[in-house]
């Protein structure tokens, strides 16, 4: 058995620095509390060198030059902790969520994939750095020894089995997290290290400190053997950011979104997953009109938060942060938030990335991620409902169709199947038929039709008279009479000739040929509403054969 513990020192500070990588090289201190009594709760090494001390007031610390102050953020600590769990799940499904800044994972058997336990630890460190965290990692034969070693030693520590006591002996007793009373007593006794504690007689220790003392004694020797409390892996990835200043413009917002997406994609990559759906939520600043409302009720009642939420679904799971940012920008250009933004939350629903194996002899297909970006750009031009793949619904309603999402991956899979079938058959020809093809006018064009003996004989279209040379019909169709949108129409295929006697015909012929075949229809539902057969409102031109 082998266990690995990942501990993030100065976790509160690292959580904030993770969202602002530029702070890593600078002196940073975290403050907490309401002004003017904000106190320093965490500080980096550089800030401590500048004279910042924990627990001091912020105004005292501001005397140190070059120190950046940030507020502690539990939101960022939550996302940093989630990132830590993702790092652990990238190598092992058995993980214990020991503390916000510590996880322990079972790495038994991983030496089949990695060269050694040290290689496992190095991989975890690398993944952590990609996710914006600087951890301390330790590997040992039991969980608690690994946990203590990670808290006590910097960098990577590998403890050989049976040598836990020897390794842990040098660590201060504070790594065991004793109670304040116990720590004070040990300090008076001169017990400073785990080695000192482990040499104490256990019977007397239990008499003095009870079971807690025995437990700490066993911990100091690295002799505790227990099972991990396994946590179930999460498949939802969230990154949040609270802004000090409101953001209104798309460009600075894109910069922040890019940073969040980089962190999100690093976590997805560590679990070999992609984002299938991206939920975006902006907390907005209440409008000026509402803020300036001087009625007493508005002061007593806390204003309700205003949100802008949107979901973006991808045909294939994506984990390229640049691609996600481009798609998100296009989406926001079409649907921008209505007020300045003060908080951003991105949540990715994960899925296994689809793998497409293309054959050598298959026709080329658009790259799914590139196509998604192209379709998003076109949707910004023509509208999201005007680009896609048409499909015919199961209805008899004339000319009914719906726009579906254009799925390239499905087409690739089907073409692979088809090519296998084709190669099995002797010969194959495309099934192409030159049928009567039709161009639809959307919306249909109203016109006047003159009838004789139940057949159309002439029409008036845009003020121009046309002679019906031939007519085929009526083709009667109706349906959905039980619903809210019934139809009842008589369709005709007519050949129309526009004589050249009128001056308007040249203008008309720019859109319609002198001799053409059209489809007209009479809406019977409208005629039942009291209009006669010669009324313009009944007859419509559906389209032209071409």
């Amino acid at each position: 058995m082998a266990f690995c513990s990942i501990f993030v020192p100065n976790f509160m500070l690292q959580a904030v620095v993770r969202s602002e990588p530029g702070l890593r090289e600078r002196a940073v201190a975290l403050i907490q509390g309401d002004p003017p009594s904000c106190r320093v709760v965490a500080a980096g090494n550089e800030a401590i060198r500048q004279g910042i001390r924990l627990g001091t007031l912020k105004q005292n610390g501001e005397q140190a030059a070059g120190v950046e102050f940030r507020s502690r953020s539990q939101l960022l600590e939550g996302t940093a902790h989630a990132a830590l769990l993702d790092i652990g799940w990238s190598v092992s499904p058995r993980i214990e969520d020991t503390a916000p800044d510590t996880i322990i994972l079972d790495v038994s058997g991983l030496t089949y994939l990695f060269a050694s336990e040290k290689a496992v630890a190095e991989y975890l460190v690398q993944r952590s750095v990609e996710c914006g965290l600087m951890p301390q990692v330790a590997v040992a034969a039991n969980a608690d020894a690994a946990w203590i070693a990670a808290r006590g030693f910097c960098g990577i520590t590998v403890i050989e089995s049976g040598k836990e006591s020897e390794f842990l002996a040098l660590l201060p007793v504070s790594v065991l997290s004793p109670s304040e009373e116990m720590a004070e007593t040990w300090d008076r006794w001169g017990i400073y290290t785990c080695g000192h504690l482990s040499r104490l007689p256990i019977l007397e220790l239990s008499e003095r400190f009870g079971q807690e003392g025995v437990r700490l004694h066993t911990l100091a020797r690295g002799a505790v053997s227990r099972s991990l409390l396994i946590v179930e892996p999460e498949y939802s990835f969230t990154e949040t950011m609270e802004l000090d200043d409101f953001v209104e413009e798309l460009d600075p917002l894109s910069f922040l979104l890019g940073r969040l997406l980089d962190q999100l994609c690093a976590r997805l990559a560590s679990r070999s997953l992609g984002a299938a759906v991206l939920h975006v939520r902006f907390d907005l600043e209440p409008s000026f009109e509402k803020a300036s409302d001087l009625r007493k009720e508005s002061f007593r009642r806390k204003s309700a938060p205003i949100f802008h939420e949107t979901d973006i679904e991808f045909p294939v799971p994506i984990r390229d942060s640049k691609m996600l940012l481009k798609l998100l920008r296009l989406h926001l250009q079409a649907k921008a938030p209505s007020a300045p933004i003060r908080k951003i939350a991105l949540t990715a629903e994960s899925a296994r990335p689809r793998s497409l194996q293309r054959g050598l002899f298959l026709p080329s297909f658009p790259d799914p991620e590139k196509l998604e970006l192209t379709i998003a750009r076109i949707a910004n031009l023509v509208g999201p409902h005007n680009v896609g793949s048409p499909s015919l619904p199961d209805t008899h309603r004339p000319y009914a169709f719906q726009m579906d999402r254009f799925d390239v991956a499905e087409n690739v899979a089907k073409s692979q199947t088809r090519c296998r079938d084709v190669s099995a058959s002797k010969s194959w020809e495309p099934d192409v038929r030159a049928c009567k093809n039709f161009r639809i006018f959307r919306p249909p064009i109203p016109l006047t039709v003159a009838m004789h003996a139940g057949r159309p004989i002439s029409i008036i279209l845009h003020g121009q008279r046309g002679e019906v040379r031939a007519a085929s019909g009526p083709w009667r169709t109706s349906g959905d009479w039980w619903g809210k949108k019934p139809w009842d129409r008589d369709e005709w295929d007519v050949g129309i000739h526009f004589p050249s006697s009128s001056g308007n015909v040249n203008k008309l012929l720019a859109a319609y040929p002198r001799d053409g075949i059209y489809r007209l229809y009479r809406d019977s539902l409208r005629s039942r509403n009291g209009q006669d057969s010669l009324s313009r409102d009944n007859w419509l031109m559906q389209g032209i054969y071409d």
């Binding site: 026709p363 499909s391 031939a470 085929s472 040929p513 075949i517």
Partner: protein
């Protein structure tokens, strides 16, 4: 005395020696791959649709442009290729397309309302890559509007599709792409067939009792940069396409003289012969 141009040529060749061999010698480009249009007679006339080139099909409404477009889409989608249709005036009918054999799941339909959106969408799709056929349908845009599209826009589209396996097809009422198109086809309508039904004849129904059986369109090459073999002067480059329900009849007929490289309905020296 050596002409100046010869001296200049020698000077340029010597400067480029070692970098570009034979800078003044024109070399043909790689042979263009042709694919079926879906209509055998047009394939016989033109050799098919050229990949990596702009093909322009023009004609008045009712001349058979949509039929040719649907046949091409059906041929490409049947070959498991993905196609795109940029519909500048939103006149595409999915029902007749499906009846023509088009696999709608392999067609990306962009419904535009103006020519600017249509051209920009075409540009985006060409640069996205991966499509077997991209059809820019400007049939119902007024010719006056299409004439205002600058020639460099057509040139840009042609350059974008070069060296790709994508067929770019533009359907219009007039020819506008000029030298940017590698293949230009002019379509025109001929006769429409309205045979009477047997029932109509037997019961002496009114003369309108008939069915629309189909029509005949004719196609003529206006320009072909891709066809290698020279055409005989005595043979008309016009074929007839007869479209019927669920089957196709094709026939070739001699209808007059043909002037290569330009659309010239009149034979040299006189008015066209009566047909």
């Amino acid at each position: 005395m050596i002409p100046k141009i010869v001296t200049l040529r020698w000077h340029v060749e010597s400067m480029l020696a070692g970098h570009i061999s034979r800078p003044f010698q024109y070399s043909d480009r790689q042979a263009v791959k042709m694919v079926s249009t879906g209509i055998a007679e047009i394939d016989a006339l033109t050799g098919g649709l050229p990949r990596g080139s702009l093909t322009e099909i023009f004609g008045p409404p009712g001349s058979g442009r949509t039929t040719l477009l649907m046949a091409s889409l059906a041929a490409r989608t049947s070959a498991s290729e993905v196609c795109a249709l940029i519909d500048a005036h939103d006149t595409f009918d999915p029902h007749t397309a499906a009846a023509s054999g088009v696999n709608l799941k392999r067609v990306l339909w962009v419904r535009c309302r103006n020519i600017d959106h249509a051209l920009r969408a075409t540009d985006l799709l060409i640069h996205g890559g991966g499509f077997g056929l991209i059809a820019l349908d400007l049939s119902d845009v007024s010719p006056r509007t299409v004439r205002q599209v600058p020639l460099n826009a057509w040139f840009r589209l042609r350059r974008a599709v070069e060296d790709t396996p994508t067929i770019l097809m533009a359907i219009e009422q007039e020819s506008n792409a000029k030298t940017c198109a590698s293949l230009v086809l002019q379509l025109s309508s001929r006769e429409t067939r309205w045979p009477r039904t047997a029932t109509a004849e037997s019961v002496r129904s009114p003369s309108w009792g008939c069915l629309l059986d189909g029509w005949t369109s004719s196609a003529e090459i206006g320009r072909s940069r891709v066809k290698a073999a020279p055409l005989p002067w005595s043979q008309e480059n016009v074929i007839s396409i007869r479209a019927r329900d669920n089957r196709t009849e094709f026939q070739t007929q001699t209808v007059g003289h043909y002037c290569r490289g330009a659309i010239n309905p009149y034979p040299s020296g006189g008015a066209p012969q009566s047909r």
